[in-house]
Amino acid sequence: MAPAIELRGVTKRFLTPSGAIHTALRDLNMAVEPGEFCAVVGPTGCGKSTTLALISGLEPASEGEVDVFGKPVDGIEDGIGYVFQADAVFPWKTVLENVAAGPRYKGTSNRDALERARDWISRVGLSGFEDRYPYQLSGGMRKRVALAQSLINGPRILLMDEPFSALDVQTRSLMENELLALWAASSASVVFVTHDLEEAISLSDRVFVITAGPGTVKSTYKVDLPRPRNVAEIRFQPRFAEIYEEIWKDLKDEVLVSYERQKRSGAA
């Protein structure tokens, strides 16, 4: 069976506003199995988000191949959900309209779309808030809307770009548990980008460590912690600490490289 996502020798270059060429990713190889939950960690600016943009089809690769379910990615295709780091729910739509947007765009009748949206709103625990506008919700609630908005389309691949980084610690671990429950009920593959190693280990089956930019996969670690997991408690397991230490040794060097670079560019 073909992997759900496969990146082979992928390089991505951007033209900076000043006209220089910036290489975000260099010769990156990565494969995600169907139904697998993968986390991608790396220092700031290593091209983690770029990886997601390539898989989603929002950006084309400069070199190399990006396959989704055995087919080369060419533009945005069905079956992909994307939860953005910043708030990307539509501020002029109510919660209900936001969640119903996906099915409506895909041609579902308005009534069916709203009905399915109600169902998903209750699944993410927002019943009673259908008619609120995003500005009336807390950050955590807006993330729930974003999750429902993505999941209602039944994605086979869910891309998440530091989705919980703006939340407070308690809300964050609540949301992480709910994400795991929702993921378990689906058969989606998840690529979860984060800079938080603890979050990466407690959620995922596999962790990819990306080097300081231009990013490429430095190493891959299997997380053999049992499921179902409670992210708030799994951190106390001895095995968790072992895995953390192992990955951190690897990640630390990259973080230091990136930090030194930032300091230098700050001084210049």
Binding site: S56, I76, W92, S150
Partner: protein, 299 residues
């Protein structure tokens, strides 16, 4: 005075304590409501006072002969003129007809200009090629003083309402256009990416993301552009008309009737204020998803 401020201090002090002690919320709400009422009353009283001072000193200085009534008129003469117009009609016919004509021209120009402005603004905001090609012409057209086009329209379209609507529309168009254009350009990239991932087509992207997002810019521009539509209608009338407030002012000027000029101006100001209130109501309806302004949420 001293006693009252001491009492006020005391009440503030006490209320601070009761708030801490968790006094019934209804008391607090009641007090805040009373404060708000008092504030509104003060504002209204001060408004009246400012009006009385301005009009009173105008009346006084003209009566004392410090300012020439012939050139600057005076409030009582203007009021008398307005009353005369209302009760006996103007030289051009009943007053309400003049108001109605100017209103039609203004609203017509406002609607035509706004619609064209939104269409062009969104189209150019969407398409890089269009904006690169047409941008320079639009900027150029914007740079010329467009009211002179009123003269052209008066010749080409004649003395009827179309010439005035065209003049008003030209003035409105550019304001709305630039705001719609900017509004579309400034749409959050994340929202576009999200909509595209969720499956929005190009058309849906325009109607569901770009236009709603640009709407707050567009509506904000309507406040300015209604005033401009009024300018366009009045200038259009100056270039040749048989009816309307602009024509009324023009004929008053020709008769050295400064009270008539001021009376016409007062009517235009009243129209603009009413329209402003209507646009604000429209704004609140269209953009109800926006968080209310901080001063409004203060209890």
């Amino acid at each position: 005075m001293n006693g009252r401020s001491a009492a006020a201090r005391l009440s503030v002090h006490m209320s601070a304590r009761t708030e801490q002690a968790g006094a019934p919320v209804s008391d607090l709400a009641e007090r805040r409501k009373r404060d708000a009422r008092r504030r509104r009353l003060t504002v209204n009283a001060l408004r009246v006072l400012v009006g009385v001072v301005i009009l009173g000193s105008w009346e006084l200085t003209t009566r004392l002969g410090w300012v020439d009534v012939f050139f600057w008129s005076q409030p009582s003469a203007i009021a008398a003129k307005l009353w005369l117009w209302i009760t006996q009609g103007t030289d051009l016919g009943p007053l309400w007809e003049q108001v109605l004509v100017t209103m039609e021209e203004t609203v017509g120009g406002f609607v035509v200009g706004s619609i064209l402005g939104v269409i062009f603004g969104v189209a150019l905001g969407r398409s890089r090629l269009l904006s690169d090609v047409l941008g320079v012409y639009i900027k150029g057209a914007n740079a010329i003083p467009r009211v002179v086009l009123g003269a052209l329209f008066a010749v080409a379209l004649g003395l009827d309402i179309r010439a005035k609507i065209a003049t008003a529309a030209v003035l409105v168009f550019f304001v709305v256009f630039f705001n719609a254009f900017q509004g579309v350009r400034e749409v959050d990239r994340n929202l576009i990416a999200n909509a595209r991932i969720l499956g929005a087509s190009d058309r849906q992207l325009t109607t569901e993301i770009l236009i709603p997002s640009a709407l707050s810019w567009i509506v904000a521009s309507l406040h300015t552009s209604f005033g401009l539509a009024l300018v366009g209608a009045v200038v259009g009338e100056l270039f040749g008309a048989t009816q309307g407030l602009g024509e009324l002012i023009y004929s008053a000027k020709n008769n050295f009737d400064t009270a008539g000029v001021f009376a016409g101006m007062a009517l235009l100001a009243a129209m603009a204020l009413v329209a402003e209130a209507l646009i604000t109501a429209l704004e609140n309806r269209l953009i109800k998803w926006r968080p209310p302004v901080a001063t409004e949420t203060r209890i």
